[in-house]
């Protein structure tokens, strides 16, 4: 797994995954919270699986609580990729 993965790259991947999970495209912005995107805990376990497969980063439920927005999530994953 590349350690030079930028948060923009991760954000693009998250955006694609969220669309696949049924989130409204126009609502997906870096400032959007998972709650605003109607991403609940079941979506989150699916998203975590996608992130692990795609970026090799494992996200636990306790990690999610610390992440406020989609942009922060992209940065958090990018820092660990």
């Amino acid at each position: 797994m590349s350690s030079s993965l930028s948060s923009d790259d991760v954000y693009a991947g998250l955006r694609e995954a969220l669309i696949g999970l049924g989130a409204e495209q126009e609502q997906i912005t870096p400032a959007a919270t998972f709650e605003q995107l109607d991403v609940d805990s079941l979506d989150m376990v699916e998203l975590a699986q996608i992130v692990e497969e795609r970026f090799g980063v494992s996200i636990k439920g306790s990690d999610v609580a610390k992440i406020a927005s989609l942009g922060e999530a992209a940065q958090w994953i990018s820092d660990r990729a």
Partner: protein, 403 residues
């Protein structure tokens, strides 16, 4: 013996997704028209496009059997006037959905994922999608039904048992209304191969209940749902009452895992139980919607059971099987057949056994063939019918419907 009629459940909404189409009106009209919806040896809901009915999130999160239940359940709730607001406290509205197998498509997909990509590739929602109570939970969540809710699983009798359970909840005062039915989506290679190995499936791919040339059942998929209410509450809120679930009888063969008891005695017990529970005599029946799967043994035992339970009336009352039009929808069958029976009684017209060309001469039944049979001689008098379901495991349930 106590012959007083017990509480009958008012039916205020019905819904159906079946190989004959989406919606209870399609089920009714097309069976009346003599349409057989089987193709390539399967009864698929070919006209259903899930995206027309479900959000992207719902479509991802639901096994097909739950999706079918959601669509049929939503139709029933809308007709009953319960979709926007419940007619009672949510804690008084129950939900009971039967299924034979549950989320078998999810199960198979998860197994494929393990085999191809390893354990960590298993879809995280596999368990809540495949569990047999997923359809019940889906409807409970969708309509905020907070009363008693559970799945019933008695193989091909599950839909019928779900309705019988709902009736019990109303009679016991544990709910004022119940959304009940059955759902199945098992048109999978696994289910086909397994039923075929038991020599239950029709090798010819034709569903010919009670015909001399019947050779097994054809696997179908679908869902049926009914809103059952305490009759006084339904009347007081001004709901249109489509008919009544008058009573139910159930019994067990305790004989063999897949074969019915040879003398039909336990099935007869369920039929007699339904009459007793409804406080009626066989002479009052106008129609029988038979289990009639089209297996050589099953249809013969069912005819025996009807003869045992109904005596001479078994040769008078017209009989047909919905499975001639849509195949065997397993845990959905009893619910779809209850919807079809109710609508047939309301229309005063019993649909035919589709494709019945040579009635088995050994079956002493009045089988409807070629065209629908007019029912009743007086549009004012409510008509009564039985609808039977018999499942693997020896589970028998018979419903008595009035309209």
């Amino acid at each position: 013996m106590d012959q007083r009629p017990r509480l009958a459940a008012a039916i205020t909404g019905v819904g159906a997704v079946s190989p004959l189409g989406v919606g209870a009106p399609a089920l009714h009209a097309r069976w009346q028209q003599g349409v057989c919806a089987l193709a390539d040896g399967l009864g698929r809901c070919a006209e259903l496009h899930l995206a027309d009915h479900l959000s992207a999130k719902q479509a991802r999160r639901l096994d097909r059997f739950s999706a079918l239940a959601l669509i049929a359940g939503a139709e029933a709730m809308a007709q009953a006037g319960c979709a926007e607001a419940l007619p009672c406290a949510p804690e008084r509205f129950g939900c009971v959905i039967g299924t034979g197998i549950g989320g078998i498509q999810t199960l198979c997909a998860g197994q494929d994922a393990i085999r191809e990509r390893g354990a960590r590739a298993v879809p995280p929602l596999s368990i809540p999608m495949m569990m047999v109570n997923a359809a019940t939970a889906t409807l409970s969540l969708r309509f905020d039904l907070r009363g008693p809710s559970f799945a019933v699983s008695t193989a091909c009798a599950a839909g019928g048992h779900a309705l019988a359970c709902a009736l019990s909840l109303l009679r016991e005062g544990r709910a004022d209304a119940v959304l009940a039915g059955g759902a199945e989506a098992a048109c999978t290679p696994l289910a086909q191969a397994a039923f075929s190995a038991l020599e239950a499936l029709s090798p010819s791919g034709r569903s010919l209940p009670f015909d001399a040339h019947r050779d097994g059942f054809v696997l179908g998929e679908g869902a049926g749902a009914l809103v059952l209410e305490h009759p006084e509450r339904a009347r007081s809120r001004g709901a249109e009452i489509l008919g009544y679930l008058r009573g139910a009888g159930s019994s067990s063969d305790a004989h063999h895992m897949t074969a019915p008891r040879a003398d039909g005695a336990s099935q007869a017990d369920a039929i007699e139980g339904a009459l007793r529970d409804s406080g009626i005599d066989a002479s009052a029946l106008s129609y029988i919607n038979a289990h009639g799967t089209g297996t050589p043994l099953g249809d013969r035992i069912e005819a025996l059971a009807l003869g045992r339970a109904l005596g001479a009336d078994a040769q008078r009352i017209p009989v047909s099987s919905l499975k001639s039009a849509i195949g065997h929808t397993l845990g959905a069958a009893g619910a779809l057949e209850a919807v079809a029976t109710l609508l047939a009684l309301r229309a005063r017209s019993a649909p035919a056994n589709i494709g019945l060309a040579e009635p088995d001469p050994d079956l002493a039944l009045e089988l409807i063939s070629e065209r629908p049979r007019p029912l009743g001689d007086d549009r004012q008098r409510p008509l009564l019918a039985l609808s039977s379901s018999f499942g693997f495991g020896g589970h028998n349930v018979v419903l008595c419907l009035e309209a």
